[in-house]
C-alpha cells in the first residue's frame, strides 16, 4: 500500500466518478437537466457529453416524475442511469417514482427485478436561496425501506460510494451532495489505497476523528464544520471530540455510534436539515432502544431552525447553525454550563462568507 496522498476537490471527485462510470461501464448514461451544458452541473459533468457522446450524457425535459420513471424503466432494461437534481427541492416531484416504485421494485415482485441507478441531488446554503432552494430531504428518503441514502462529505466518500454504486450495487441509490463542498479540497487516498474497506462497503459510517470527551455525529458539510470546531477545541482547550461521519443515512453504522457514545457519554448530532423527524431523532432512537443510560448528559442536536428558510441574510444566518453555536454547545456539554471558557462570537466559516451565488 502506497501512502502517496493526492489532494482533490469534491467537484473533481464527482467529475472523476462520473468519468469512471462512463469509461468503465458501457451501460451508464447521465441524464439530467443541463448535464451537457457549459456549466456541467457545477463542473461535475463538464465536457462529458463531448467525450462520451450525447447518447450517453444528455439533457432531459423538465419532467421530474416522468424522468425518474424513465430512469427506472431504463435500469430495468440494462442501462445504469445517473440522474441529477440541481436542487434537492425538485426531487419532491419525483417522490412517487422514488418511493412507490424504485424502492419497491425488487421486493414487490418477489426479487425478480433490480433497479440499479443513482440519483444525485444537490443541497445548498447561503446567499438567499430561500424557502424552496434550501431543503435537505435525507430523512424523508431514509424512512423508506429499499432506498440507499448517502451524503458524501469528502472526495473519498464520493469516489468510494459512486464507483461502488455503479459497478457493484444493484438498487437505487440517492446521494445528497452539498453545493458548498464542491470547492473544498480533500486529501484523497482513494487511488493509492486500493484495499480500503470502504471500497467494498461504502454505504456505512466513518469514524474520522477519535476522541474521548464527546461524540459528534455529523452529516455532509456538517462533518467539515465538526472537524474545524474539533481542531479548534483541541488546540485551545484540549477538548477531545470523536467525530463520526454518518454518511449512509439509511445504513449508518449503529455499532460505531453506540460504541462511541458508550465511551464518551455525550452526544451531539449536526445535520443539514430540520431536527424534527430528522437525523438526530433517528440517532436518539438507536441510543434509546439500546441503552439510554449510556448518555451522561442530554443530547444536543444542531440543524436548521424549525422554519422555512428565509431569504434575507440577516435571518438566514440565524436559520443555520453557525460554528459559534456548535463550539459553545460542545464546551457546555463537556465542561458544563459554567465552564468559564471565554468565547468570542466567531464568524461564520469561510465558505459561507465567501460564497457568492447564484448557483
Amino acid at each position: 500500500m502506497s501512502d502517496t496522498k493526492t489532494v482533490i476537490s469534491y467537484r473533481e471527485a464527482l467529475y472523476q466518478s462520473m468519468n469512471t462510470a462512463l469509461s468503465e461501464s458501457p451501460e451508464v448514461v447521465i441524464m439530467g437537466q443541463g448535464v451537457d451544458d457549459h456549466k456541467g452541473t457545477f463542473g461535475s459533468t463538464s465536457n462529458l457529453a463531448e467525450k462520451y457522446g450525447k447518447e450517453r450524457v444528455f439533457d432531459i425535459p423538465l419532467s421530474e416524475e416522468g424522468n425518474t420513471g424513465i430512469a427506472i424503466g431504463a435500469a430495468l432494461n440494462g442501462l445504469y442511469p445517473i440522474q441529477t437534481h440541481i436542487r434537492n427541492d425538485f426531487s419532491l416531484l419525483a417522490m412517487n417514482q422514488i418511493v412507490n416504485t424504485a424502492a419497491k421494485y425488487k421486493y414487490m415482485y418477489g426479487g425478480h427485478f433490480e433497479v440499479p441507478f443513482l440519483i444525485r441531488m444537490i443541497i445548498g446554503r447561503s446567499w438567499g436561496q430561500g424557502a424552496q432552494h434550501s431543503q435537505s430531504f435525507q430523512s424523508l428518503f431514509a424512512h423508506i425501506p429499499g432506498l440507499v441514502v448517502i451524503m458524501p462529505s469528502s472526495a473519498d466518500t464520493v469516489l468510494e460510494s459512486y464507483n461502488y454504486a455503479v459497478q457493484k450495487y444493484k438498487g437505487p441509490v440517492i446521494s445528497i451532495e452539498h453545493r458548498l463542498l464542491y470547492d473544498y479540497n480533500f486529501n484523497s487516498n482513494y487511488n493509492s489505497n486500493s484495499n480500503s474497506q470502504f471500497k467494498e462497503n461504502p454505504f456505512t459510517s466513518r469514524l474520522i476523528r477519535e476522541g474521548s470527551d464527546i461524540t459528534i455525529v455529523a452529516t455532509s458539510i456538517m462533518v467539515i464544520e465538526a472537524q474545524r470546531v474539533s481542531d479548534y477545541l483541541f488546540r485551545e482547550f484540549k477538548i477531545d471530540c470523536e467525530i463520526i461521519d454518518l454518511h449512509a443515512i439509511s445504513h449508518f453504522n449503529k455499532e460505531m455510534i453506540l460504541k462511541s457514545v458508550k465511551k464518551t457519554g455525550k452526544l451531539i448530532v449536526a445535520d443539514t436539515s430540520w431536527r424534527a423527524y430528522g437525523v438526530c431523532a433517528e440517532i436518539s432512537r438507536i441510543v434509546c432502544e439500546t441503552d439510554p443510560s449510556m448518555l451522561k448528559a442530554p443530547v444536543v442536536s444542531l440543524g436548521m431552525q424549525p422554519t422555512p428558510c428565509p431569504t434575507t441574510k440577516k435571518l438566514e444566518d440565524l436559520f443555520y447553525t453557525d460554528d459559534y453555536t456548535f463550539t459553545k454547545k460542545i464546551i457546555e456539554l463537556v465542561k458544563g454550563k459554567n465552564h468559564n471558557i471565554p468565547m468570542t462570537e466567531r464568524s461564520m466559516n469561510e465558505a459561507y462568507k465567501n460564497f457568492k451565488g447564484p448557483f
Partner: protein
C-alpha cells in the same frame, strides 16, 4: 394449424375463464388481495400481446391479469401468487396488483395509476441505446392519461424518438367516475399534438381488429423506431375492484352493458366456447390445485430482496 381467430379466441376465453374462477374462489377468502378484473377487456390484451416477442417489454396497471396471461406467463404461478404462496410469480409478495414475469417480458404492474407508463419509455430508451431492437409497451386506463406523467412520457418518447407503444384501454371509467367528468381531450387526438402517430379503435371486443391494427403498429414502430399511441374503447363488466357486478348502481347504464355483451365473441360464439372450455378448465383446475398445494413463504422471506 389453428386459425388466427381461434387462437385469439382461445386466449381471450382462457383469460375470462381464469377470472371467472377467481370470482368463484374469492368468497372463500383464499385470495386475500384486491382484484381488478379484466372481464370485458380481454381482447385488448390478447390483440396486443399476440404481436409481441418475449423480448418486447410490457408494463401495465393493477388491472393486469389479462396481460400476464396474454404475454405468456405461467398460470400456475399466477394462481399461486393470488393465493400468497411462495411458488407465485412474486413469491406471494406481489398479489393480484403486482403480477410480473421477467422471462416473458411482462415487466411490472403498479397499483399507483399511471406510474408504469414512464417505465416503458425508459425501457425503450435502453432498447435504443443498447440496440436491443425491442418494442416497449405501456398499457393504462383512460384515467391514467390524466396524470402529469402521461404528458411527460409522451413528450419524452417523442423528443427522443423511442420505440414505445402506448395503449390506452379506455373503458370510460376511473372507479365510478365517467370520462366526461374528467377529460377535456380525446385521448387519440391529444396524443397527436406530441408529433406522434395515434390511432383509435372503437370495437374493443374485437380481438381480430385489434390484433391487425397492433400488428401494423408494431411493425411501424420496429421500422421507424418512433412511438405511437393507440386508444381502444372497451368495457369493464365488473365493479372496479372486487368480483361483483354493479350495474344496479346508477353510475353507468346497463343498456351499454347489454349492447357490449351482444357483440362480445366470448359470449356469443357458443361453438368455440364449447370447443375450448374443457381444455381450459382442466388447465385452470390444475393451476388452482398447484396453488392450493403450494407452501406459503417462510417467515424469513419477509426480510429478503429489499436491497
Amino acid at each position: 394449424m389453428i386459425s388466427l381467430y381461434k387462437n385469439l379466441f382461445y386466449q381471450s376465453l382462457r383469460i375470462r375463464m381464469v377470472e371467472e374462477k377467481i370470482i368463484e374462489i374469492y368468497p372463500s377468502d383464499k385470495i386475500q388481495s384486491p382484484v381488478h378484473l379484466s372481464i370485458g377487456q380481454e381482447a385488448v390484451a390478447v390483440g396486443i400481446c399476440n404481436n409481441l416477442l418475449k423480448t418486447d417489454l410490457l408494463y401495465s396497471s393493477y388491472r393486469s391479469h389479462a396481460y400476464y396471461l396474454a404475454k405468456g406467463a405461467n398460470l400456475n404461478k399466477m394462481f399461486a401468487e393470488l393465493y400468497g404462496k411462495v411458488t407465485g410469480c412474486g413469491k406471494g409478495k406481489a398479489g393480484s396488483m403486482h403480477l410480473a414475469e421477467k422471462s416473458v417480458g411482462f415487466m411490472g404492474s403498479s397499483a399507483v395509476v399511471a406510474s408504469t407508463i414512464s417505465h416503458a419509455v425508459g425501457s425503450a430508451l435502453a432498447s435504443k441505446r443498447l440496440n436491443k431492437n425491442q418494442v416497449c409497451v405501456a398499457t393504462f386506463g383512460d384515467g391514467a392519461s390524466e396524470e402529469g406523467s402521461y404528458h411527460e412520457s409522451l413528450n419524452f418518447a417523442s423528443v427522443f424518438k423511442l420505440p414505445v407503444l402506448f395503449v390506452c384501454e379506455n373503458n370510460g371509467l376511473a372507479i365510478h367516475s365517467t370520462i366526461d367528468q374528467r377529460h377535456s381531450y380525446k385521448i387519440h387526438e391529444h396524443a397527436k399534438s406530441y408529433n406522434l402517430k395515434s390511432t383509435y379503435i372503437e370495437e374493443g371486443y374485437d380481438f381480430m381488429k385489434i390484433n391487425s391494427l397492433i400488428s401494423e403498429t408494431i411493425n411501424e414502430i420496429k421500422l421507424t423506431g418512433l412511438p405511437q399511441v393507440v386508444e381502444i374503447k372497451t368495457y369493464r363488466y365488473k365493479e372496479h375492484v372486487g368480483i361483483g357486478d354493479d350495474h344496479h348502481v346508477p353510475y353507468r347504464s346497463s343498456k351499454d352493458f347489454d349492447n357490449w355483451k351482444s357483440v362480445d365473441p366470448l359470449i356469443q360464439d357458443k361453438t368455440l366456447i364449447n370447443e375450448f372450455s374443457e381444455k381450459i378448465n382442466a388447465e385452470i383446475e390444475a393451476a388452482v390445485n398447484f396453488a392450493e398445494q403450494s407452501e406459503f413463504p417462510a417467515d424469513s422471506e419477509l426480510f429478503t430482496d429489499i436491497y
